[in-house]
């Protein structure tokens, strides 16, 4: 149901993953993930090693944070994030790159899984693994299945349906075996035999590579999927692979599914087999106006300004920088802000691409309804929200919106439909908190 076909613009598929050089200083936010911020356990002046725990998860929905570099803690202060809002962070001056000695840095691939089911979940928690598909939900929580529910399917999301992004594409080509081991670890943690890896048909190379590798791993099935945005949205992916629909307000586990990103599977491999905490991720640095496209392996906490300097500055016609894909990503207003665990890209958008066209009146053509993958009525939301009827919009399933942006993409009247929906969702959450 629904969906749109934005220009793919996968410019950086051929750019191999390069290791991004370490900067002089990194800034590590205490809230790198969905949920409560972690509590710092280091102080100003303390020496830290790469991979050392620097902030501990105390709340339930929270993740440990490890030092991405070795050096000395400069200070714990509030720092502005990419939106310009100040948030607490640990600032570390980089000195060399000395890892904690528990981490196995050798390139050998370790395929034997020695840990038990609960040990794996504890390991994921200890290593601060979060979902790298964008939402940064702490991974270990997904594997603590609530009582009375049973997981039947493990689904690995390698769809990467957002235009421009290629980090998953590259990881699949360069680390296929590690991913397969990671998937096997997750299967063990979940107690399921089979795992499905969903990949969009526009990535023939990764499909071939993963298929070839899957032959060695019994029970892992590579599932090529139709090219359509948002094929990689959790509920849409579950529907495409299992045929099951996640009911409104329910979680994937309610239909027996657990979904993880392919990048997370790689991080899981590194955490469980190599004892390596989540201190780096793969970022696509791309844009039509850039002479060279890149996929970098970036330590968390490196500022966007460092990346921009490294690629030799921005072209003159740059209008916007986006963290994430062009459909769901967030605009960066503060380049000094550091990257976080969930940062998947730095996308350079030109003046021409960024300009929103003039807003016209809604003629109720219904294109937004056709495009909505959740079967909602964005034009109706817009009318209700503009008349201050948030509750009525919620009664019409406003909260089921996954904010994919198909409606705003397709609207011939250029109405800011998603803006209005996000605004109303925020307002409704506030209303609920007040109650």
């Amino acid at each position: 149901m629904g969906g749109v076909h934005p220009e793919e613009n996968k410019l950086s598929t051929q750019a191999s993953i390069e290791v991004f050089p370490l900067p002089k200083q990194v800034t590590v936010f205490l809230n790198q993930h969905l949920g409560a911020p972690a509590t710092p356990i280091v102080e100003k002046g303390m020496a830290v090693k790469t991979g050392q725990l620097i902030a501990k998860a105390e709340a339930f929905v929270c993740a440990n944070i490890h030092s991405p570099v070795s050096g000395v803690v400069n200070k714990i202060d509030i720092v502005k994030d990419i939106f310009g809002y100040a948030k607490p962070a640990i600032i570390i001056d980089v000195e060399g790159d000395e890892w904690v000695d528990t981490v196995d840095l050798t390139p050998t691939i370790k395929s034997e899984i020695t840990l038990s089911k609960t040990e794996i979940v504890d390991k994921l928690k200890e290593m601060g693994i979060v979902g790298l598909g964008g939402a940064t939900f702490p991974t270990h929580i997904k594997y603590m299945i609530p009582e009375g529910k049973k997981a039947e399917y493990l689904i690995i999301n390698a769809v990467e349906c957002e235009p421009y992004l290629t980090s998953d594409h590259r990881v699949m080509l360069e680390h296929a075996e590690e991913i397969m081991i990671g998937v096997s670890i997750l299967r063990k943690a979940l107690g399921v035999e089979k795992a499905y890896i969903g990949i969009e048909n526009n990535k023939p190379e990764p499909i071939a590579k993963m298929r070839e590798m899957a032959e060695k791993f019994e029970g892992i099935i590579v599932e090529p999927l139709k090219v359509k945005y948002p094929q990689g949205a959790e509920k849409q992916l579950i529907k495409a692979i299992t045929g099951r629909s996640v009911p409104s307000g329910k979680l994937p586990i309610d239909v027996g599914c657990v979904v993880n990103n392919v990048g997370t599977a790689f991080a899981v491999y590194e955490a469980v087999q190599k004892n390596k905490p989540l201190v780096e991720n793969i970022m696509t640095v791309t844009g039509k106006s850039l002479a060279q496209q890149h996929n970098y392996q970036v330590r968390i906490g490196i500022s966007y300004a460092d990346i921009v300097n490294h690629i030799g500055g921005l072209p003159d016609d740059t209008a916007k920088l986006i963290s994430g894909g062009p459909m769901m990503g967030k605009a960066i207003v503060n380049l000094e802000a550091p990257t976080t665990k969930g940062a998947s890209s730095l996308l350079v958008i030109t003046d021409k691409e960024a300009e929103r066209a003039e807003e016209l009146d809604c003629i109720r053509c219904g294109k937004c309804m056709e495009a909505c993958p959740m079967g909602l009525e964005p034009y109706l939301f817009s009318a209700l929200i503009n008349n201050d009827k948030v509750q009525e919009a919620v009664d019409n399933h406003l909260m089921d919106c996954i904010e994919c942006g198909c409606c705003i993409f397709t609207c011939p009247a250029n109405k800011p439909l998603l803006d209005e929906i996000r605004f109303a969702k925020g307002k409704f959450r506030q209303m609920q908190q007040k109650k």
Binding site: K80, A86, E355, R422, F423
Partner: protein, 295 residues
Amino acid sequence: MTEFILPAVLVLGIIGAIFGILLYFIAQKFKVVEDPKIDEIADVLPGANCGGCGKAGCRALAEAFAKQGNMEGLRCPAGGDEVAAKVAAILGIEASTAEPQVAVIRCSIGCTASEPKSKYQGMQSCAFANSLYVGESGCAYGCLGLGDCYKACQFDAIKLDPETGFPIVDDDKCVGCGACAQACPRHVIELRNKGPKKRRVYVSCVNKEKGAMARKTCANACIGCGKCAKICPFGAITVENNLAYIDYTKCKLCRKCESECPTGAIKAVNFPPKRESQTSVVEQPTTVNNENKEN
């Protein structure tokens, strides 16, 4: 023909009469006795339903007045003393008076002097922009300039500067209902006493960042240096979270703080122009002040 019409008219007429009588007795039985004063009071209230009194609307306030029988804790800020006197007359008591208040925009919008740090193309709503990011000015505390206060004002008292898009309050039209203050997602707008001859001194900034950071964002930001608090002879100024606040109940409008402020964050409005010798220390008045003086 008549043989059809007559029975129909008769039957309907009889049914109507029976129900009419029935309804009369039911109405008598279940009559809701309403204080006649409620209607009277509701008539004298402005009827804008601005919510400035804290009630759901004018009718709700009228009910509260009638129920309470006095005016303690109840007041129509939009109507002011005039309406208060009328309500008091209806209730048969003496009217309470209160200092009239006015909405004050505590942002000097000094950021507009520099280039906007980003360009916003989204939904034209401060509340929404606030949920996304700091705004075009780069200040996480100040006015976003998308006009939520303008939309909230029922009294046509807020205008948007055509050039900058930032709001300007018309002192004469503002009734101090506080609808704009409620609508502002950044809590930039405060209700302050109108003051004698509409003269007021206030800190025109709500930035709680540390001095250097605040100064970097805006030339007119309060940096929390505390100079104003030190010089104030009446102890009206407090500095909390790197931000000074002038208590309007204590301020005697001496304007010592205004000349002491190193960033020009303290504004004194509607005073006659200062003498030459003193103007050198005072920063250029912003557009907000100019407008106020014209009014």
